[in-house]
């Protein structure tokens, strides 16, 4: 028996591919944003440029679908995908649901019924509006989202850097869904393309704010950032909301003046909401790219540090 030998291989044993045990969050974010951007551009283009006339009987169900579209897309590309990986993020669904509940019970009433920034900021100068929205709506929403993430997600659930991002974005999707629902409740007769513009902008503002805040949390738990980084990121996230809200209303309501060949001012060529669509798309992509870059830098720095230790 001792003569038994393992077979001699001609080729060296094939190394098995390393299985990444977590869901790739940036991939999901890219897909979710892409789907929303395509729906927004498609719907807006069809209604504005092609002249698609949506039957009035279809408006209400279509609006209901559009309001929940970010949540549905998130459920498909994030939550369901999470179930299929070896090490899922267990609290993701709970965080999403709690975020929606807290937004509905605390966030929305606090801003719309108590602070009411639209009542006293709408006629202020641009700078005052940015500051006003930052220190009221912005800080309220981001602070609520931060406290929620802080209390619901335990520190030991942060295993890799993108865990922080995944939980923060789940909070953002839950919160923005309630805000969109609130908009539809107050303006039930809104046109679907305008509703989609509003839904995507709200979603993008919250995604941007939460992604920035997640960077502060990530550096705190898994990086080596200063203790002042997290409060600084909270302020940046609030400022994003503060800048985006006046810009959103300003861009959608402003006429675009164009000169035609004769040099006569005309506003007939470009719909005035076109800037709003461009702004929504920019808000959907630019902050995410910047935060992805920061995450990448943080990871590289960590790798370099480990390599240096070895």
């Amino acid at each position: 028996m001792s003569l038994f030998r393992s077979p001699r291989l001609i080729l060296p044993p094939r190394e098995e591919d390393e299985v990444y045990p977590y869901r790739r969050v940036w991939r999901s974010v890219f897909l979710e944003c892409s789907v929303l951007a395509v729906v927004l551009v498609g719907l807006y283009g069809a209604v504005t440029f092609v002249g698609l006339d949506i039957p009035s009987t279809l408006v209400a169900p279509l609006n209901a679908l559009l309001v929940f579209l970010p949540a549905l897309v998130w459920c498909y590309f994030s939550w369901l995908q999470e179930m299929a990986v070896p090490q899922p993020r267990r609290m993701l669904g709970a965080v999403f649901a709690l975020s929606a509940l807290v937004a509905s019970a605390v966030g929305v009433p606090l801003v719309t019924e108590f602070l009411q920034p639209d009542q006293w900021l709408s006629l202020e100068s641009a700078i005052n509006r940015i500051i006003g929205y930052t220190v009221t709506t912005g800080i309220t929403q981001e602070f609520i989202k931060y406290v929620l993430t802080r209390t619901v997600v335990r520190a030991d659930l942060y295993r890799v850097r993108t865990d922080v991002l995944a939980y923060s974005l789940a909070v953002a999707v839950g919160y923005s869904t309630i805000l969109s629902l609130q908009f539809l409740r107050t303006t039930p007769d809104v046109r679907p393309d305008m509703l989609m513009l509003r839904v995507v902008t709200t979603y993008a503002i919250h995604m941007a704010g939460s992604a920035v805040l997640s960077y502060g949390l990530m550096e705190l738990y898994l990086g080596s950032g200063s203790i002042f980084l997290l409060p600084a990121m909270l302020l940046v996230a609030a400022a994003i909301t503060g800048v985006a809200l006046p810009l959103r209303s300003g861009l959608i309501n402003t006429q675009i003046a164009l000169h035609n060949a004769a040099g006569v001012l005309s506003t007939a060529y470009v719909p005035r909401t076109l800037y709003g669509v461009g702004f929504a798309l920019a808000l959907l992509s630019v902050p995410q790219i910047l935060v992805a870059f920061l995450y990448d830098v943080s990871e590289r720095r960590e790798r370099d540090r480990l390599r240096g230790d070895i």
């Binding site: 006003g132 931060y146 520190a155 738990y221 203790i227």
Partner: protein, 200 residues
């Protein structure tokens, strides 16, 4: 709540992480307080209006639209940010003789408005202390207001108003406050602030 605290205690956090959270909470609350302060300042901010002919010095809410060209009023400000009926404060001046009383002016006003406004209804007439040394006759009423253009097909707004009638230097001063009935109570504090600062 107990579960929440248990959860917080379970979390194994370093002192650095704990301090970062404490600082974040403090900064968040400070910024929110600043926001509340700015809000209160903006809501109580005023612009001065002076009419030497009528002898009025008023501080009206900033950003409200001032109109002094009306036929039946010398001063009117409206909150143009309101959708539907615009919250309004206005002052009218009427000549006053020795035979006239504040009550008779109020009755005449009610009679005129009943013909002008739809569903005009006087709720109450009572004394109102504008200041410790000045009492006015207060008349509360409601009526419905339709859009000027029939093509807009809007639902009428229920408007609630209050007239304060007082006699000053041989003339009757009618200070009017009107707002949509649903926001009347919340908007009334602006009128109280206006009255506190009004000189005539």
């Amino acid at each position: 709540m107990r579960v929440l605290f248990k959860r917080l205690n379970e979390a194994s956090e370093s002192p650095r992480q704990r301090w970062a959270h404490v600082i974040t909470l403090i900064i968040g609350l400070i910024v929110f307080t600043i926001g509340l302060n700015i809000r209160n300042s903006a809501l109580t901010a005023t612009t001065v209006y002076e009419n030497l002919q009528a002898g009025i010095l008023a501080y009206y809410p900033r950003n409200w639209l001032l109109d002094t060209q009306g036929e039946d009023y010398v001063f009117r400000v409206r909150d143009m940010t309101r959708s539907g009926f615009k919250t309004t404060i206005q002052i009218s001046v009427q000549p006053f003789s020795s035979e006239t009383t504040a009550r008779s002016i109020a009755d005449r006003l009610a009679f005129t408005r009943a013909r002008t406004y739809t569903d005009y209804n006087v709720l109450s007439t009572e004394d109102y202390a504008i200041r410790s040394d000045l009492t006015a006759q207060a008349m509360s009423y409601t009526y419905t207001m339709r859009e000027t253009s029939a093509f807009l097909q809007g639902i009428p707004d229920v408007v609630r108003g209050q007239d304060l009638l007082t006699i000053s230097r041989g003339q009757a001063l009618i200070i009017t406050f009107r707002a949509e009935a649903s926001v009347y109570e919340s908007e009334y504090r602006r009128f109280r602030q206006f009255l506190r600062q009004l000189s005539f």
